[in-house]
């Protein structure tokens, strides 16, 4: 009797428990992967800025605001002054523009919520990618249709390397592109 209980414990209960735990872990791991990588992160911003309106409807070029994208490591969130180029006149009555103007006049910088981030030890460079003709959409998704900006793709090392190794498949329209470097010093230093 006693023997069969231990037998049951070892042969049925234990493997079953281990299997359930592993399965639960694996399931959660894959289900939560996107969220852990930040995909779908769409925080509230201090000013309710719409990329859909500016970049989509009004077709303002990305580089009108993100001026660093061809020159620098950073794409750069525009200085408040850049917004005021238009909003000194345009839509001055809207509550969000009033907020913006208040920041500008108080000479206070706006604390935008950061959405896309690679770790500190990875030295991603916008200019190297954009100057090779890679469109913003490839990484940032269809920003022109986002009312509220959020992260669309994973920004992990696996995601970087995936494209670096199969650039032609990922970017079939880009004729000049070659596979990106996949050595360590390409990003880490």
């Amino acid at each position: 009797m006693k023997k069969s209980f231990i037998d049951h414990l070892l042969r049925i209960r234990l493997p079953l428990t281990i299997f359930t735990a592993l399965a639960a872990f694996t399931f959660t791991y894959f289900i939560s992967k996107a969220e852990r990588d930040g995909v779908g992160y769409t925080p509230d911003q201090p000013i309710n800025f719409s990329h859909k309106l500016h970049a989509g409807t009004m077709k303002i070029d990305c580089q009108y605001c993100h001026i660093g994208v061809e020159k620098s490591r950073h794409a750069l969130v525009p200085a408040t002054e850049t917004c005021m180029n238009c909003h000194k006149i345009a839509r001055k009555d809207k509550p969000e523009i009033k907020k913006l103007t208040a920041y500008y006049e108080a000479n206070k910088p706006i604390h935008w919520k950061r959405i896309h981030k690679v770790p500190d030890f990875a030295y991603f460079n916008h200019s190297a990618h954009v100057n090779k003709g890679i469109d913003c959409i490839s990484c940032h998704g269809d920003v022109r249709n986002m009312d509220k900006i959020g992260q669309m793709n994973s920004f992990t090392m696996a995601a970087c390397l995936d494209c670096h190794r199969t650039a032609h498949d990922k970017l079939p329209d880009n004729k000049i592109i070659k596979n990106g470097p996949d050595n360590c010093y390409a990003c880490h230093r």
Binding site: P43, L76, V77, W112, R114, P181
Partner: protein, 1017 residues
Amino acid sequence: MSEIDNVTKENMPDENYWRGFNELYNEPGFAEQSGPEFQDKVTDEFNPEHLSGLSRRKFLALIGASAALAGAGCSNYRDKGDIVPYNKKPEETIPGEPNFYASTCTECSLACGLLIRTREGRPIKVDGNPDHPVSKGKICSRGQASILNLYDPERLQNPLKRFGDVFNKITWKNADTEIINALNNTGSKGIAVVTNRIVSPSSLNVINAFISRYPTAMHYSYELVNDSIRQSAWAKSGNKGLFPLISWDKAKIILTLESDVLNAEGELIETLQQFAKNRDIDKPDSFSRLYAVEANLSVTGMNADYRIKLRPDAISDFLVLLNNGLNGNTSAVKNFADKFNIKEKTIKYLISDLLKYKGQSIIYAGDKLPEQIHISVNKLNDLLGNDALYRKDTEKVYLHNLSTSVELNRLINNMKSGKIGAVIHLDSNPAFHFSASMGYSEALKKVPFVVTLTESENETSELSNYVLPLNHQFESWGDAQVRSNVLSLQQPVIQPIFATRQKEAVLLTWLSGRPENYNETTYYNYLMKCWEQTYYKNSGSEADFTSYWNNSLHDGVAISPKKLSQSMEVSVMPDKSLPNYDGNYILILKENVLLGDGRFANNGWLLELPHPVTKIVWDNYASISAGAAKELGVKNNDFINISVNRRQLKIPVFIQPGCTDKTITIELGWGRKKVGVVGTSAGFNANDFINYDDVFSPWIIQNVSVQKAGGSYSLATTQEHHSFDKEREQDLHLKRNIIREATVDAFRKNPNIFGEANGKGHKTFYTETDQLFSKGVKWGMAIDLNKCTGCGACIVACTSENNVPVVGKEQVERGREMHWIRVDRYYSGPVEEPKVSTQVMLCQHCDHAPCENVCPVVATTHSPDGLNQMVYNRCVGTRYCSNNCPYKVRRFNFYNFRDKFKSGYQQENLFTLLYNPEVTVRSRGVMEKCTFCIQRITKAKQDATAEKTEFKGSSVRTACQDSCITEAISFGDQHDKDSVIREKMEHKLAYYVLEELNIRPNVAYMAKLRNTRSEEA
């Protein structure tokens, strides 16, 4: 045939290279110290008995508190922080891209041109300004390290006023008001303004205006070590200007007398550049021959083709001998040579060389030598027609004369007798610099009103009523003139970080009499006005003043054509006789090229930079010969007592090969008492021995008495770290060819002197690497040992560029210094007259890198462009790689040194502004090493992509290459057929260190050629 069998008598260095006495004499303990790369006792500090006594209760309380804090802090786990753009972006700034500004270095009186790299408005790296006609894009270690002073958390941040024994903060307004009142109330009593040498014309204008506003005011100036003796000797030789500059590049024969002209004297940067021009291996016929006469081994002596070991008090006899020799009378040479233990033939070579190259040689006496010697030297040069080498195109300018010792003593006496009502120290520190026997500190206590303007607290500020904080040079406006035809401009590259002001602006405010007249542009406007009224008018420029000014600011320099005052007539004979050589102990005081006059005593980079000759860090010492050590019965680190005329110093000794007996050499600038935590207890102060009234020289003291003092000290040196065990080295070092040397003559006769072999010729089993590196860029470096003087500027540049931490003396003693690049120094030959070889050593980026094979976590790998990569995030700290590296160039972070060093000194908020944002700041437990400045390579690639041009290897310059004053380092793409690097690597003199290991290093060394006489080859 293997490399080892290939060694023949001709190409084998027949000397036994050694690095120090421990190694030479095989002292017990040397093998233990140097054998294992990682010394024992690593785990000492984990002894539980030494752990802090944190109670269980307290521990639980802390855990609870931190858990609560963590819970509160993690309210949104997806949060990635904020992006905070500018409100109004400055036009010239693009975050992520550097800006460069030209300026002028004001840390010493050479006023070299600077090019300062800033990122997001903060300076992060300093290089030389290539447009500067004198320094031509190069600066010294001190100039590079001055950036560390800007971010020194211990800088003075507010004006201080003394209340009894303590200093309290006050506002600038109150300080100014009180000082203006006090100055106005001095009445008939004198006001002394004490400065160092002023090289800025506008600054001098302000001081002069101040002097004329207060009729009792006087300007006093001094320099710890200066060239006033040379100046007065030339005045007596009939020269109207200061003294002529020398075209070193035109000299075939150079004879230096007790002068470290390649490291510490004269026009340092320009001299080195000109000297290196005649060390070009492609033009073996143009090699100059350097004879160095000196007592202690200096950098000049290390690089000399012939070194004559001679006490400074025998130099006048030597000159007489030389004079006779040049007139054909060499009978006394043998006696002299025997008396001073010099090789007779060396002197004969010298005499015949000087005769052979009349008009193409130069005899150069050191700043410290007495006037009579300078006059004799001038005469000899004149006799030989060497005045052809005096430069006619430019002339040295000093805007004012330094105060004489008579004037300084009169000032001190007046202070003592109460005739001086106020003393203003304008960025000077006389309480430290003046010999204690002059009594300056005591005299200062008698002065009712003392103001000190300084960047950080010092010995003088401690004795003052008011201490006013000054801007760092990167926060200041200014100008400088040290040449007749060159004017330099200094511009700030950052807003003053603290409530500091410029010294000129402070004086101008006092002059105006109203504290509220100060604003940030006070001195800027003054400077511009000075330039408009004088230089702009004289320049004959067709542009309007604004564009003239902006152009000058952009370039950092303005050239003003000006007539030279020079006229040489050497007529006056020496009038007083020098004390004769008497065989007693003699003390030589030298300026330390790194710390200067002590101004940089809180600068960790310079304190941890190994001394070019002794490789000692964090201290100075009395350098004596092995013979003297034997006589005194002392070993390295033992204390000796030096005394002369009631002045005394207890200092540890360091036995220096190649020293004359009975001479003691001590470097100045060390031993500051009132200094920040970094420089505390670094070195010993020998300023007390300076005697301005000495018959011979203020810095060469005769008849000193020396005794063993008992007790010993611990000098930290990097020279015996990172070596293999003695036995294997003894067996192989002759064949290893780590240093290859030949003579110019032998090379001329047989360019293939080292055979055809270079490391790439060996067979290998790993043929796939050859294919891997066959296309695209392949990086390589070439280091020309003929041009390298061993100064160490590359080390500072690397430290600055790559965020290398300072580790502290006690860690260096354990062999844990973190420098990615080092300068090895080897002695060879006898202890009395060693030949010295230097070699820059850094990661060789081997094709078959031994470090890569042993890493269990693949943290170090190879890139297709030939770089040995180190990935910090993968590294788990096994240190296998370092163990397997034959060059010992990998560095392990035994601690987070930023936290460990001086209780987190390098973690202060201000300090973090210094870091290069393009390079990871490493933490505890990871290995690191030279990356060939991968951040610069990447940047150049990205720039090429952005500009849609082809990427060329020649567009990359590493930090060490940029900093090398003599351009000994070249870097580039080995596959580029037109590149300099390819040419160098294919040169007959190129060799690889330890090439027999067949690991295929990518750093080629150009074997050193010594320009000895053909009879000797």
